[in-house]
Amino acid sequence: MKIDIKHVAKLARLRIEDNEMAEVEKKLLSVLEMVENLPELTGNSSGLDRENPMELRKDEVKPSMKRDLILANAPETRSGCLLVPKTVE
């Protein structure tokens, strides 16, 4: 078993320094080893449970929250918006 730690870290937006790689991989592999002992099961967990249907919400407007409260925890705001480093796309 080999994990492409760099790729997984990129997907998870985590930064792992080169000198940490080995340790991170070792610990992850030890967890994966534990996890590997699953029995062979066939079939597809469709994720559908007809017996337990979801109750849907009525399309009725509720008051929104004041913008100050929505933004109160933001590290950086400007002109009533969240401010982030420039996006490219």
């Binding site: 030890s30 699953l38 969240l82």
Partner: protein
Amino acid sequence: MELYTLSAAELAKLLREGKCTATDILDSVFARIDAVENKVEAFVTITREEAYAKAKEIDEKFARGEKLHPLAGIPIAIKDNICTNGVLTTCSSKMLYNFVPPYDATVMQKLNDCGAILIGKANMDEFAMGSSTETSYFKKTKNPRGLDRVPGGSSGGSAAAVAAGMAPISLGSDTGGSIRQPASFCGVVGLKPTYGAVSRFGLIAFASSLDQIGPFGRTVGDVAMLFSAICGRDPMDATSSKHEHADVLAAIQGDVKGLRIGIPAEYYGDGIDAEVREKVMAAVKQLEEAGAIVKEISLPSTKYALSAYYILASAEASSNLARFDGVKYGYRAKEYSDLTDMYERTRSEGFGEEVKRRIMLGTFVLSSGYYDAYYNRAKLLQRQIADEFARGFEECDVMITPTSPSTAFQFGANTSDPVKMYAADVCTINVNIAGLPGISIPCGNGADGLPIGLQIIGPKFSEDVLLRTAANYERICGGFNTVADLA
């Protein structure tokens, strides 16, 4: 008699008899906090001012002769992953070191409506990932029954606060044992309700399909009272159930005559300390003497639960914790070159090692090419485990197992080896996997003088039966309500 040593039910009685006020109770509880919190460190935040303001309101209502909920004027500690409007909610993480929610979790709203008084936010393992509360970014909570021991986790602060007499009751959350295991370690009662029994709205998610909020107390009655106050369908949580819950306070008065107790052999194997097995079986024997019928049963898939759990919980966590990216709330790295760099530095600096490990694992098992081997297989196994429990409950009404393989361990004992730490949850994890209710109650002490807990598991929505069984044992052994001596 110091008020802080009394149960919530006893305090409610005194309040109604006019023998004390909510303010008196707070005086006693905060005096206790002032005396022992520096040793126990159960709280991330203490809300003294707000609590006194609320107590004043409640006292005025009592003075006017208003009929109030039994929880009115009762102090309560809330785990720091449950959102409290205007009160810091950190998940014990650097990532949320400054997060003040602008809204209340549904449970908090219900407790406010009852008149319960929030006294503080309880320490926990970071984002509820851990079994010792050692992964908290802020502090290490000590076990009030032995200060060199961990309180268990992840709801270590909630359990310790109750055991130390700093709160008569508290709320925790349980994803793989996070209420029951610390209850066991700290010698208190802790209930993990059926999945869907209590609204998760406002509970900062770790693993959404497994998380459930539940109560701690020093008596079964208090736990029953708190559960009945917070359970029920919430339209804000699609996974909350419409089930009509039985009157648990009435249920606990019943006896155990004819109650069929199943003993699943797989929970009494080699990994479990001998003294834990003995104490649990001794308690079972006492229930049998009180009229219960004991039978051996088998749950062969138990051995796979830990694997299924770490796949499912980590997968969900990797997605649930993706929102912590330095944009909307919480920590943002001080220096970065661009957007991606900001994301990566923020998340790497803001999360602790255990959280990052699980995010990595969860990201990996969901990534392209691995989904079927891991996530899909774990889901199939989850169904197999649930089916096995369902068959088991055709033969018995409840199952009794140890809550944890051992008494509370020492700080640092398992921190270097994640797999060993995960094994501490081996008795409790299945219950979350199957979505069942489970309760941990004290059943004596080990040779080290530390509490041992037993776990009662029932079918979905059998909280009344679990609490009744627990209350019978409580009566048999003359009551659990002891506050740790921290002199």
